[in-house]
């Protein structure tokens, strides 16, 4: 789900963010604090989580979106480290011990665990997908596509670059916050290390492998990267190496991602259908 949010930023608006885990973390910590200190239930804290992540997205996006491409990537890495350090060293956030004892989500009086939680996530995922789909069909989305392709041409057509990049950024961070809150309530324990830089890279891999700028791409990417560690458990020590290899292969053979343009699946189907004829 967080991958979907990142997809809005990278795939739709063309802004490379390498600090997406920070926003997942902000969402998770907000939910955790509200639940443990204020005793809020998940559904009560949900709107607050969204507002908080959006505000942070806005505040952190405003300065960083003014720089371009590679600089933006570096800035967002910085944001990631700063946020992680904040969680780690400020006692209010539980320091290195993190926050434990987060109650699971209550729905109609019963605790959501296992399958129930899975359905709840699926439900939110559908909402997120719907938001993404709607965004890509709206004028705001179109403005972002145009900015991604040619910034100077887009601005000569009345599109304010800062405004729409920021919009995509905020939508992306909101979704990240939501996913963070969900995971905090599921795992019931969070610490700063969960939202560190490698997690950002992990998210980026999901988006790239699935297909940037596509609706279902990030979902597929997340499924693949979620399942792979299970399948390749014997080579767990070489996982990062394997990711790198996978990413390089993707960039070489499928730059648009599995569900992106000129996707391998479709090409193979075409070949097969030609042979049948």
């Amino acid at each position: 789900m967080a991958a979907c949010g990142l997809n809005v930023i990278i795939g739709y608006a063309g802004q490379v963010s390498l600090g997406h885990a920070a926003f997942v973390g902000i969402g998770a910590y907000t939910a955790a604090l509200l639940a443990t200190k204020a005793g809020f239930s998940f559904f009560l804290s949900l709107p607050i989580v969204l507002v908080v992540s959006a505000t942070f997205g806005l505040l952190l996006g405003l300065p960083s979106l003014r720089v371009r491409e590679d600089f933006l990537a570096i800035t967002t890495i910085g944001i990631n480290f700063i946020v992680e350090a904040m969680f780690n060293y400020v006692p209010f956030f539980g320091g290195a011990l993190g926050i434990g004892g987060i109650p699971p989500i209550l729905l109609f009086g019963s605790k959501m665990k296992g399958l129930g939680f899975f359905y709840l996530c699926l439900f939110f995922l559908l909402i997120v997908l719907f938001v993404c789909w709607w965004f890509s069909r709206s004028w705001a989305g179109l403005a972002c596509f145009a900015l991604r392709e040619e910034e100077s041409a887009a601005s000569s057509m009345g599109i304010s670059p800062v405004r729409f990049k920021l919009l995509a950024f905020v939508v992306g961070t909101c979704i990240a916050g939501l996913s963070g809150a969900l995971s905090a309530h599921y795992i019931t324990f969070i610490s700063a290390g969960d939202f560190s830089f490698p997690f950002s890279i992990h998210l980026l891999c999901m988006v790239v492998i699935g297909g940037m700028g596509t609706l279902w791409g990030p979902v597929l990417g997340a499924l693949i990267l979620g399942a792979l560690p299970e399948i390749f458990r014997p080579i767990v020590d070489y996982r990062i190496l394997f990711y790198t290899l996978l990413l390089l292969l993707m960039i070489r053979f499928q730059p648009g991602g599995l569900l992106g343009e000129s996707m391998m699946v479709r090409r193979m189907m075409n070949k097969i259908s030609l042979r049948v004829k």
Binding site: S138, F145, S152, M157, G158, S160
Partner: protein, 255 residues
């Protein structure tokens, strides 16, 4: 004569020590086709970038429709009704030709936060977009991906986008360069029909024959300075202009 649509007053643009434009003034009257010509590096494109807000002038003022625009960002100037094309074409490569035009059609929606969430994939918008494409002669390529089009079509696509944005003034930056003869004459007709709709055209042109034939008036730049202004016939006889294009010795021989 009525009030000028665009006034460029004593504008200079310096890049460090380089004076790309030095104290240039001219006016564009409503409904005319004004040509901006000059040798390479004369400052024509810089002038366009100043008018459309990409650069801010070092000195001087630019008035559009009586309002000063220097220092406004490009998207605000576009909102006032100035459309432009680029010398090096800038299509939205991975979008379709029709979508490229639709981006320009959204101009009124990008300003209001409430309006930008409505969908752009509706019949009426597509129809409007197709009409404009039909007009520039790209109707049958609407579904094609813009990045795959040849240069001539891309130039027309840029004009289509500029037409939608620029309901008062459009700036054409060398839209004729690199095109075949037939394409040039088709484009000339298009520019004339744009003027007939009441849209003012300011164009940069290298091809002097096109500029002479198409423009009502010409402004000639050389090394960042305005060296002449007037009707095409006057310009053709102007010694300074001949000198700038051909060099001093040849100018004497020609005279």
């Amino acid at each position: 004569m009525s009030r000028a649509l665009l006034e460029v007053e004593d504008v200079s643009k310096h890049f460090g020590g380089l004076k790309a434009l030095d104290d240039v003034s001219f006016r564009v009257m409503p409904g005319e086709i004004l040509g901006l010509i000059g040798p390479n590096g004369a400052g024509k494109t810089v002038c366009f970038n100043l008018i459309s807000g990409v650069y801010k002038p070092t000195l001087g003022r630019i008035l559009f429709d009586g309002q000063s625009t220097e220092g406004s960002p490009p998207h605000e100037i576009a909102n006032k009704g100035v459309g432009r094309t680029f010398q090096i074409v800038k299509p939205f490569g991975s979008l379709s030709v029709l979508e490229n035009v639709l981006v320009a059609q959204g101009i009124s929606k990008y300003r209001a936060f409430s309006k930008m969430w409505s969908s752009w994939r509706c019949e009426s918008e597509a129809k409007r977009g197709l009409e404009v494409l039909e007009r520039v002669g790209l109707g049958d390529l609407a579904r094609r991906k813009a990045g795959l089009l040849p240069l001539g079509n891309l130039r027309r696509l840029e004009i289509a986008r500029a037409l939608i944005v620029g309901h008062k003034l459009i700036l054409l930056d060398e839209s004729f360069s690199g095109l075949r003869h037939e394409e040039i004459s088709r484009l000339e007709n298009l520019v004339r029909s744009i003027r007939e709709d009441g849209i003012t055209v300011l164009l940069i042109e290298h091809n002097t024959r096109v500029a002479m034939g198409l423009c009502d008036r010409l402004v000639v730049l050389d090394h960042g300075r305005k060296i002449a202004e007037g009707h095409p016939e006057e310009i053709q006889k102007n010694e300074k202009v001949i000198e700038a294009y051909l060099g001093r010795k040849r100018a004497k021989n020609a005279a």
